[in-house]
């Protein structure tokens, strides 16, 4: 089966194609390229350029503006072929077009001058957001929107045409925003706004000075800009305006700079006159009567800087001490009351304690002399010394400042300590004739008269006697040649030391113990061979015994007998019959 041809290749299709071509071709031959135009050309007439007064005159002559894509020239060249005055401007960088082309060399005419938008449409259309307006010396940064929020159109500022600008436009518009500011501003800086403003910064109602480093507070807010920003013509001039008080207020300074540059220490922007000077913020605070003193009394000749702060600078004339207390009056005097002296003698080397505190100054500081006043006791109290200097010059060793008579002499700090009854003895007893120096310290010096031993025990009474009690002598006989043991301890002294004689007292037993008759002289003078100091009886004979065996050298054992069992009278006779019935009698009677 034969295939059908494509629709476009059918007879109907081809006929339609041909007819369409003919219609378009016919239209083109009659109207030129009009059918390709996206819209009608601008019909506003102007100066005749080569016999053409508007672009609309060229509606049928596309190639008057449209160069062939493959041709040597461009559309811009064809624009310049007619608009020769613009072509001349391009050579001048100070002109609108010249400056634009210098900044954007590839800028096309049609970027700002669109066409085919109708006979009445503007031939100039520049989008402020994209148009390089800063290339003509004024950026639109601060002119993106009008006060009503709508976008700026070129005609809002360029009343005649975009190539011209009248400076009055600025003032006219800004008068409506803030007339007071604008009038003051133009009065201060003139009406040539573009001489200072480049359009980058914001001004007027939008400008918030408080966002700047120097905030406008108080009366500063009402000051004209030019009062502070003198000779400022560029934004940097405004930004670099000095913010120190003195930059503006130096002329107002009655202190001749004595208080420095920072006026705000005392003055406020709210009121120059209402100073809030606080002298107490300075090194020299005004306290007491100083607060009521007239400034001129200290700041002579209205001089504030370098005013001395030492007391003497002002109070030398008041010094009754002739400078003896130095120049620091505040050491004693206070700003509250000159006469209310709070001199603290205790801060000196000689603190006033006790009765010293009540003494009149001139008692020590004679002739109103303070410097060099001696601090040793004797300087004042020599006249009071009843010891004739024997205790030296340091009265304070015994006396105190609270009470001269309340002596706190400590005899114990001396070599001879007062113990026991010595502490109660009147001083004169030892220190005869009020003589203290050289007073002997040995016992005998005082107690010789009390020596009942007639010097037999030497002069060192303290060996037996104590200061606590003379009577309670604690003589240690064991230290002597004859130690007292056993029953000797309880024997009264005079039993042995007859007639209170101690020296030469014999130490043999027989000196005190007479040989008893029982011994019949059989045992000699050494009582201790059988007796002990524990007791005269019992005695234990350890010698040999005729007729009776010695039992181990421990004595004689003859049954349960004692010496007196057999020796009933003396040891030289005996009897056995006391025990034995067959008594044979006679000496040496034996056992039965």
């Amino acid at each position: 089966m034969k295939k059908k041809p494509l629709g476009c290749l059918t007879a109907n299709g081809l006929i339609a194609f041909v007819i369409t071509l003919l219609l378009i071709g016919g239209g083109a031959s009659i109207n030129g390229g009009k059918m390709f135009a996206p819209g009608k050309l601008n019909a506003q007439t102007g100066e005749s350029l080569g016999g053409v007064t508007s672009h609309a005159d060229l509606s049928a002559e596309c190639d008057a503006c449209h160069a062939a894509p493959w041709g040597a020239d461009k559309m811009g060249d064809r624009c310049m072929a007619c608009h020769t005055e613009i072509s001349a401007q391009l050579q001048n960088v100070s002109s609108l077009h010249g400056s634009l082309m210098q900044d954007v060399p590839d800028l096309q005419c049609r970027a700002c001058h669109p066409e085919h938008r109708g006979p009445d449409a503007s031939l100039v259309e520049m989008d402020p957001a994209t148009f390089p307006h800063d290339a003509v010396g004024f950026a639109l940064t601060a002119h993106a929107q009008k006060t009503d929020g709508t976008a700026f159109a070129c005609g809002d500022c360029h009343l005649q045409n975009v190539a011209s600008f009248e400076a009055a436009v600025c003032a006219d518009c800004h008068q409506q925003i803030d007339s007071a500011f604008t009038e003051a501003h133009t009065a201060a800086y003139g009406s040539d706004c573009l001489a200072c403003h480049d359009g980058v910064e914001t001004y007027g109602a939008n400008f918030d000075h408080n966002q700047a480093a120097f905030q406008l507070v108080g009366k500063h807010a009402a000051v004209n800009c030019a009062d502070c920003h003198t000779n400022a013509h560029a934004i940097d001039d405004f930004k670099n305006t000095a913010t120190e008080c003195a930059a503006c207020h130096q002329k107002d300074d009655p202190h001749n700079g004595n208080f420095g540059d920072d006026c705000s220490v005392c003055h406020t922007p709210e009121d120059w006159e209402a100073t809030s000077f606080d002298h107490n913020l300075l090194a020299f605070k005004l306290e007491g009567k100083h607060g009521r003193v007239e400034c001129e009394q200290c700041h002579i000749n209205n001089t504030f800087k370098g005013t001395p702060t030492d007391c003497y600078a002002c109070h030398q004339k008041d010094d009754q001490h002739n400078g003896q207390f130095g120049t620091d009056c505040a050491a004693c005097h206070t700003p509250s009351d000159w006469d209310n002296v709070s001199f603290d003698h205790n801060s000196f080397a000689f603190p006033l304690e006790g009765k010293h505190a009540r003494a009149e100054c001139d008692e020590c500081h004679t002739n109103n002399t303070f410097k060099g006043t001696p601090t040793d006791c004797y300087a004042c109290h020599q006249k009071d010394d009843q010891h004739n200097g024997q205790f030296g010059t340091d009265c304070a060793a015994c006396h105190n400042s609270s009470d001269w008579d309340n002596v706190s002499f400590d005899h114990n700090s001396f070599a001879f300590k007062l113990e026991g009854k010595h502490a109660r003895v009147e001083c004169e007893k030892c220190h005869v004739n009020n003589t203290f120096q050289g007073t002997p310290t040995d016992c005998y010096a005082c107690h010789q008269k009390d020596d009942n031993h007639n010097g037999q025990f030497g002069t060192e009474c303290g060996a037996c006697h104590t200061p606590a009690s003379w009577e309670d002598a604690t003589f240690d006989h064991s230290l002597a040649a004859f130690p007292l043991t056993g029953a000797h301890v309880n024997v009264r002294c005079e039993k042995c030391h007859v007639n209170n004689t101690f020296a030469g007292t014999p130490s043999q037993c027989v000196a005190c113990h007479a040989d008893p008759a029982f011994h019949a002289g059989a045992f000699g003078a050494d009582c201790a061979s059988c007796h002990s100091t524990s007791g005269w009886r019992p005695a234990e004979y350890r010698g040999s015994h005729p007729g009776i065996a010695d039992e181990g050298g421990f004595g004689i054992r003859h049954g349960n007998t004692t010496c007196r069992t057999c020796h009933t009278n003396t040891v030289r006779d005996y009897t056995c019959l006391a025990c034995h019935s067959n008594n044979q009698g006679g000496e040496g009677g034996g056992d039965d």
């Binding site: 494509l6 109907n12 299709g13 009009k34 819209g39 894509p69």
Partner: protein, 273 residues
């Protein structure tokens, strides 16, 4: 499948809504209608025209390649309809709502072709086709009608106690198997009247008959459709031929004007220095 019969229309609608949203965004952000010669407007024109070219060429080429490996004819038709709607819509937006000059004439032709295409599709769907889009002949339609009749008779015979009442309800339905140009161009109205009558009879019938009407509805609808197609098949084919005769020259005029517009735009604007 009945469910996907108009999917290309929904997809086209969706695409147009999406394109409209983007267009609205551009308008809102630039605060002006996108010019035909600027990036967005130009892009709309370029892509819209490419879609129109595809509309014009791809389906025609497929019709001349009857091999199944080239895809179903119906799928190509859906794509043809999709591009045939979306492409002109983009070109319409490309116009920036100016209809002067050759571009305006081309746009007018585009609108005419689109409307013509909608009419053409309506006529096209009057001709019964197989699943892959091939036309069904009258003999085949008669066979299908006979088979459907047999199904309905069998159904009625199995329900003797209610067949009389059901037959009375069915007899009250309008006859849709008309012939002539009305059966082709006015079939939507005929179909609408038939369905309205069906609902009326169904609502008046008792519950049992109503249930049977529901069961037999599909068979009867198909029977009516086949009968109408048989009676109007010749008229539908004639109308389709006439439509082709008109549609193709308009399309040729459109593309001729469009190509010349394209050349003019390239010369005067795109390559302008």
């Amino acid at each position: 499948m009945r469910r996907n019969r108009s999917i290309e229309l929904w997809l086209a609608l969706l695409a147009m809504i999406g394109i409209t949203a983007v267009y609205a965004f551009v308008v809102a952000s630039t605060n002006e209608i996108p010019a035909a010669g600027e990036f967005f407007g130009h892009s709309l024109g370029v892509f819209g025209f490419l879609l129109m070219l595809m509309t014009e060429t791809l389906y025609s080429l497929r019709k001349r390649r009857r091999r199944a490996s080239w895809g179903k004819m119906s799928a190509w038709l859906k794509f043809h309809i999709f591009t045939g709607l979306v492409g002109p819509f983009m070109v319409l937006l490309h116009s920036s709502w100016k209809f002067n000059g050759l571009a305006g004439a081309a746009l007018l032709l585009t609108i005419i072709v689109v409307l013509s295409g909608i009419v053409g599709r309506y006529i096209y769907t009057a001709v019964p086709r197989t699943v892959d889009g091939a036309a069904v002949e009258a003999v085949e339609l008669e066979r299908q009608i006979a088979a459907t009749d047999a199904q309905i008779q069998t159904y009625m015979a199995s329900r003797p106690q209610t067949s009389t009442a059901l037959a009375q309800r069915l007899a009250a339905l309008p006859d849709v198997s008309q012939a002539g140009i009305t059966a082709v161009l006015g079939r939507a109205l005929i179909e609408w009247e038939y369905r309205r009558a069906w609902k009326r009879e169904s609502s008046h019938a008792d519950a049992q008959v109503r249930e049977q009407m529901k069961q037999i509805e599909e068979m009867l609808h198909r029977q009516q459709l086949l009968k109408r197609q048989v009676s109007s098949l010749a008229m539908a084919r004639r109308l389709l031929a006439v439509w082709h005769t008109v549609h193709i020259p308009i399309g040729m005029a459109l593309f001729t004007a469009a190509f010349i517009h394209l050349a003019g735009a390239l010369y005067f604007a795109t390559f302008l220095r």
